[in-house]
Structure formats: structure tokens, C-alpha cells
């Protein structure tokens, strides 16, 4: 129960934001950061706990997003079941990619690159297919009504995103303490030893990638509902694969709060450096890059206060 407290505290604090902060600049920033945090939390299950670094989580994000959008736009489905189906399809894609990759024994960089290749195949196909709207993209009709999973207030959307992130945090905590979680960590630390101890490595990895894909797919569905527009480069672009892996690595891979922490650090940093931007484009991103390297050199997780929160979480 004690471990749940930080999560609840986080949910309550973040949940107060719309009540305390009137600025939509901040709320919009928080919503987008939460969407990234959710995608990153998905990556964390597989990459952080399982040690299987994927460079292609865009495949799951994009599937979640596209299915959510397509079912509404082309089949007139309500947004909520469409969103749920998006998560389901993303999980399925995760299972299939996982089956192909893990059955062949792909690990490390090979696994990373094969996931990247899958994501690229999806991107090229989505850009050419009729179903996805092709290169013109797909637009969800703007009807700000809670019944359509669209909200007039950014604050309301923040609560929805926060609820999903909180669920993801709780799920991660549950996983950490479950048999599956222990097996996953065992696989990460030493696959051969885990196998010798009787862990069904393939099954463990498959479960992890399916859960991971579902979570990142949910982030994709949220993205679709928040921005109401998708094209192949948004949904399956490498940007989200990078975001999803960057946040947990910065915040602490294989920890409950790592992805959220990392997403907040990275995006906060991005905003902070952007405000420094002069009239010459690019300088702010140069500063961002330098600070990113400094963050790696002097990780914030070494800061004592954060350390306790993270380790006990």
C-alpha cells in the first residue's frame, strides 16, 4: 500500500493543476507531456524491465492512433469503443512483431533495428493506403462533447490523460511485484540463467511486448483524440519511437516513475530552452542538446531527493 502512495500523490497533485492553473499554455504542455509519458511507460515495460530496447514503438503508437481515428471516421463508431479497439489492435501488432522477433532470438541492437524496420514499413504503407487517408491524412471531426471523447476544456482532457497515466503507473507497479515482473527482470539480467531456472523466456517477452504495445497504443489513441488529425509521419514517424525511449532512459528505465519523470524533464527542458531562443532558428535546440548531454553526465536521478522517491516507488 505504501508503494501506491507516491502514485496517488502524483495523481492528486497533477489533478489539481487544472484547478490551480488557468493558463492553457501550461495545461496543453501537461497534456502533451502526459501523452508522451504514457507512450514512454509502455516502452518502459519492455525496455526498462525486460531489457528489450525497441526503436520502433511508433508501430504501436501509430496503430492505436489510426485505429481510433479510422473506426470513427470511416465506420462511424463512437470514440470510446474506437479508442479501446485501438489499444487492442496495438497489442495485437505488438504480439505479432514480438513473436516474429523473439522467436528468431533477436536481442539487443538487432531487436532494436527490427522494430525500427517494422515501424517504417507501417509508415510507408499508411502513407499509401486508402484506409488511412493516405498522404492527405485523416481528420476526426471536431465535436467537443464528452460523449465523443473530446472536451471543450484542456483541463478535462488533462484529467483523462492523467487517469490513464495513473492506471499505467499502477499497472507498472503491479507488474513490478508480480511473477511476470520478476521473470522479466531475470530475463533482462541474464537470459540464459533465467531459462535455466525454468522461465519460459519467449512467453515472458511476448506478454511484456503485448502489454507494452497496448500502453503505447493508448497514448496514440489519446494523441488522435487530442489533436484530431493524423498522417503517416505523425502516427508512425520515428519521432515518437525516440520520445518513447528517451523519456524512460532519462528518468530511469525499469522504474515506475522513470518515464513520467523523464517526459517532464525533457519537455520542460524543451520549453525552457525554447524561451531562450533568439531570432536565429536552431540555437534553442543546440542548447537543448547540450543540456541533454549534461543531464546524462549528471543525471537528475542522482539528486538525493528524487532518488528516494524513485527507489521507493
Amino acid at each position: 500500500m505504501k508503494a501506491v502512495l507516491p502514485i496517488l500523490a502524483f495523481a492528486v497533485l497533477m489533478g489539481l493543476a487544472p484547478l490551480m492553473v488557468a493558463s492553457n499554455v501550461v495545461l496543453n504542455f501537461l497534456v502533451f507531456t502526459l501523452i508522451i509519458a504514457l507512450a514512454a511507460q509502455g516502452w518502459n515495460l519492455l525496455g526498462g524491465y525486460g531489457g528489450q530496447y525497441s526503436f520502433g514503438h511508433a508501430a504501436f503508437f501509430g496503430t492505436g492512433a489510426y485505429v481510433t481515428a479510422i473506426l470513427q471516421v470511416r465506420y462511424g463508431m463512437n470514440a470510446y469503443p474506437a479508442f479501446t479497439a485501438g489499444i487492442g489492435f496495438a497489442a495485437l501488432v505488438g504480439l505479432v512483431i514480438g513473436f516474429l522477433a523473439f522467436r528468431s532470438g533477436l536481442r539487443g541492437s538487432y531487436f532494436a533495428l527490427v522494430t525500427l524496420a517494422f515501424a517504417e514499413v507501417f509508415r510507408v504503407l499508411a502513407n499509401a493506403a486508402e484506409m488511412t487517408g493516405g498522404a492527405a491524412g485523416i481528420l476526426i471531426r471536431l465535436q467537443a462533447n464528452p460523449a465523443n471523447f473530446q472536451f471543450a476544456e484542456r483541463g478535462t482532457f488533462l484529467w483523462v490523460a492523467l487517469a490513464l497515466v495513473t492506471l499505467a503507473l499502477l499497472a507498472t507497479l503491479a507488474l513490478e511485484r508480480s511473477r511476470l515482473g520478476a521473470q522479466l527482470v531475470a530475463v533482462r539480467e541474464n537470459e540464459a540463467a533465467a531459462q535455466a531456472l525454468g522461465v519460459d523466456v519467449l512467453a515472458v517477452k511476448l506478454r511484456a511486448i503485448t502489454l507494452s504495445a497496448a500502453m503505447t497504443g493508448a497514448a496514440g489513441g489519446l494523441y488522435a483524440q487530442y489533436f484530431l488529425y493524423l498522417d503517416a509521419n505523425i502516427a508512425y514517424g520515428t519521432w515518437i519511437s525516440v520520445e518513447a525511449l528517451l523519456a524512460p532512459i532519462v528518468g530511469g528505465a525499469g522504474t515506475v516513475f522513470g518515464p513520467v519523470l523523464g517526459a517532464v524533464i525533457l519537455h520542460g527542458l524543451g520549453e525552457a530552452t525554447k524561451s531562450l531562443a533568439g531570432s536565429i532558428p536552431g540555437i534553442d535546440l543546440v542548447i537543448f542538446g547540450i543540456v541533454l548531454i549534461l543531464v546524462v553526465r549528471f543525471p537528475p536521478r542522482d539528486l538525493p531527493g528524487l532518488l528516494r522517491l524513485r527507489r521507493r516507488a
Binding site: N24, F29, V124, A128, Y229
Partner: protein, 403 residues
């Protein structure tokens, strides 16, 4: 609080000034904040930079000319936002501009950015004027705040088609066979689909349609296929770098069709291309956004741009014109109020003449300027000339290309 008082006082002063004597202190009129949204970092940074340049020049000109007269000579203050070449970046900048209290936003460039940013602005009934973004979805969503001065995709492709037929007919129908080369994004793919449906109806035969990705690393195979098919016409629709590669490869492979007729091409209407590769660029035609060559202002603006060592691209005049449109609407609205501005924008008519685009009298229907249209240009003697429609042309087409 203090800020509000200043604002209210100068508003009174300003109004008094208009009533009493125009020479009253203009400097005291509060500045009107105008959001300029462009992607100046990331994949679209080139377009974004040239778009920003156009907006800046327009704002400088307005301010130098005494600001917005109806608002007591209020200056326009640019609130610039970098959309980072993605929709999220666009939305986050819209939020910042809203917090800054801008009266309208101009820009976006790419359709995905325009779609997301105009929608975010619609939450605040904040007027949004699209500079380029050609997706027809932009003005079909029923958003009252969103306006597009330039033409949409459907208008551009139809004009491209009509003008092509007219051009070919006038020259005695030298061309019959066509190869289409297009980038696989929004512009290129949609254009290719439409041309494939329409060209056969108008007596052309499409031999092949070749899609290529952006960025493309090589154009030799595209050139190879064009060479083996020997089409009369090649119709490319690509971004700058890809078309330059294609044109140079075609030159190298000695492929000389009767015409290269581009649609919404990133290079054929770009002076960098003309300057750097005059041989490859010579006589290439393009159906694209382009300023009106007969307006004196066009040449003046071009001189200003070139004085800064920049090239003359369509993004600059389009953003210049879009800012002028907002300024014109502000004059007519008579107050820096969003609802009034939206009304004024929607009511824009032929009396708005400060833009430099080759459009007829402005008339907005559902946010789309009905007069917005592309023109046909051709590279002639190291210059880019308008060859079609005749109303705006400053040169005769050279077609078919011989030799």
C-alpha cells in the same frame, strides 16, 4: 492592472485622435499583437524562414506607414512562434500566443500544422489566417475563425489541368503522352490521383505514374524510366531538393521532353534553382503560388528580400499578403477585437488591394478566398516569368521546347 489602464487610456486617446485630428500622438496607441506561426526548425525550416520573412516585411511596412489608422496608428507587434515542423509544436505556440493576447494568427505553412493550429485557435475564437496549407480539409471543418487567402488543393490541380490543356491546344497539341513524377505526400499523391483521372478525358495518355519519397536519395531510376518511355510531357510535383535532383539527372541523361510541367513544385518557382542550375532550370514550367508580376509592390518586395541575401520564394509574398489582409480587416473592424476582426475578414472584398497575389477581387466563402488561384510560371532567360493566365502574364510561353 497598470497595463489595462494604459490600454484603456490610449484607446480613448486614439479614438479622440481619429475624431479630432489625425496628427495626434500615434505613439500612444497600444500595439496590436499579431501571432506569426512558422516552422523555422525541423524538416520544414526553409519554408518557415521565408514565410516569416514575408510577415516581417509586411509588419515593418505597416508600422513605417503609420500603423493601423483606425486604431489611432497602432503599431503591429509580431509575436513569433516556431511550430517546430509538427502539429504539436503549432498548437503549443497557439496557446502561448493566446496567452500573449494576440488579435490574430497568420501562418502554419504545412497542412497538418494549419489544421491543428487553427483548431486550437478556434477555442478562443481567435482569427487564424492560413498562409499556404493547401489541404482542402482546412476550410471544410466549419471553423468560423479560419481563413485562407490562397488557393486550396482542388483549385490548384484543376487550374493546373485547365491551363495545361489550354497551353497545349494553343501550341497545336504537340503533346499527347505524359509521365507523372510526384512526391508521396499530400501535394504529390493527391495531384497524381486527380491527373490520372482527368488527363485521359482530355486527350492525354498517362504512360506511368512514379511516386518517390521525401527525402529521395537518388533520381536515376526515375530518369531511366522517363527515358525509356519517351513521354512528350513530364509532370513533376516534388519538394525543392528532389526536383533539383530530378532536373539535373534528366539533363545529365539527355532527356528532353517537349515540356516539363510542374504542379506545386518546390523548385521550379525558386530563384536558387534558377541561379544555381540555369541549364537544368531553363524553360521548366510550374503551376504554383506566385505573386503578381505587374504590381509594383512585388518588385519592391523582391528587392528588399534580395537585399538581405535571400532568395525570392512564394512563401514570402504569400505571408506578406496574409498579414496585409489582417491589417486591412483591422482597419475595417475599427477595433482590435477578435469577433469584429473575424467579421471583417469574412467581409473582405475587392477593395482589399494591398496584397500582391495575382487574384481577382477577394471574396470569402466559409473562410476560403474564392479568388485564390495559382498561376503558371516558366523559367526564361534565368528569370521566372508568369505565362498564364493571360491577365497576369508578363511573358509568352515557350512551348513545345525544341532542341
Amino acid at each position: 492592472m497598470a497595463k489595462f489602464e494604459v490600454a484603456r487610456r490610449s484607446l480613448v486617446l486614439g479614438a479622440a485622435g481619429v475624431l479630432a485630428a489625425p496628427a495626434l500622438p500615434r505613439a500612444q496607441a497600444p500595439a496590436v499583437k499579431l501571432g506569426i506561426l512558422q516552422p523555422v526548425t525541423g524538416a520544414l525550416s526553409q519554408d518557415g524562414e521565408y514565410g516569416r520573412l514575408g510577415a516581417e516585411l509586411a509588419i515593418n511596412e505597416i508600422n513605417a506607414g503609420g500603423g493601423i489608422r483606425a486604431l489611432g496608428g497602432a503599431r503591429i507587434e509580431m509575436v513569433f512562434g516556431d511550430a517546430r515542423s509538427n502539429p504539436e509544436g503549432g498548437v503549443s505556440e497557439v496557446e502561448k500566443m493566446q496567452a500573449e493576447g494576440v488579435v490574430a494568427i497568420v501562418g502554419g505553412f504545412a497542412s497538418p500544422i494549419c489544421l491543428a493550429a487553427s483548431q486550437a485557435a478556434s477555442r478562443y475564437d481567435l482569427p487564424y489566417v492560413v498562409d499556404v496549407g493547401v489541404s482542402d480539409q482546412i476550410v471544410s471543418r466549419g471553423l468560423a475563425n479560419t481563413f485562407r487567402f490562397g488557393p486550396g488543393f482542388g483549385v490548384v490541380t484543376n487550374a493546373a489541368l485547365d491551363n495545361l490543356v489550354a497551353l497545349n491546344d494553343a501550341a497545336g497539341k504537340p503533346s499527347r503522352t505524359v509521365v507523372i513524377v510526384h512526391e508521396d505526400g499530400l501535394f504529390g499523391s493527391g495531384m497524381a490521383r486527380l491527373l490520372n483521372a482527368e488527363l485521359p478525358k482530355r486527350g492525354f495518355e498517362v504512360l506511368e505514374t512514379i511516386a518517390h519519397p521525401t527525402p529521395a536519395r537518388d533520381m536515376n531510376n526515375v530518369a531511366l524510366r522517363i527515358r525509356s518511355l519517351r513521354p512528350d510531357l513530364v509532370i513533376p510535383s516534388s519538394y525543392y531538393a528532389e526536383f533539383v535532383l530530378l532536373a539535373r539527372t534528366m539533363q545529365q541523361q539527355r532527356i528532353r521532353p517537349k515540356g516539363i510541367y510542374c504542379v506545386l513544385n518546390g523548385a521550379a518557382s525558386n530563384y536558387r534553382f534558377v541561379r544555381e542550375f540555369p541549364d537544368a532550370a531553363n524553360l521548366v514550367m510550374d503551376c504554383n503560388h506566385w505573386p503578381d508580376p505587374r504590381k509594383p509592390k512585388t518588385a519592391e518586395l523582391r528587392r528588399q528580400v534580395e537585399a538581405q541575401n535571400r532568395f525570392w520564394l512564394y512563401n514570402t509574398p504569400m505571408n506578406y499578403s496574409a498579414v496585409m489582409l489582417v491589417a486591412d480587416a483591422l482597419e475595417r473592424a475599427g477595433r482590435a477585437d477578435r469577433a469584429a476582426l473575424i467579421q471583417a475578414l469574412a467581409a473582405t472584398d475587392g477593395a482589399f488591394t494591398k496584397h500582391i497575389m495575382p487574384y481577382g477581387p477577394t471574396r470569402f466563402v466559409n473562410g476560403q478566398n474564392q479568388a485564390g488561384a495559382p498561376v503558371n510560371t516558366q523559367v526564361q532567360n534565368n528569370d521566372i516569368k508568369v505565362i498564364f493566365p493571360r491577365d497576369f502574364a508578363d511573358a509568352q510561353p515557350v512551348y513545345p521546347v525544341t532542341g
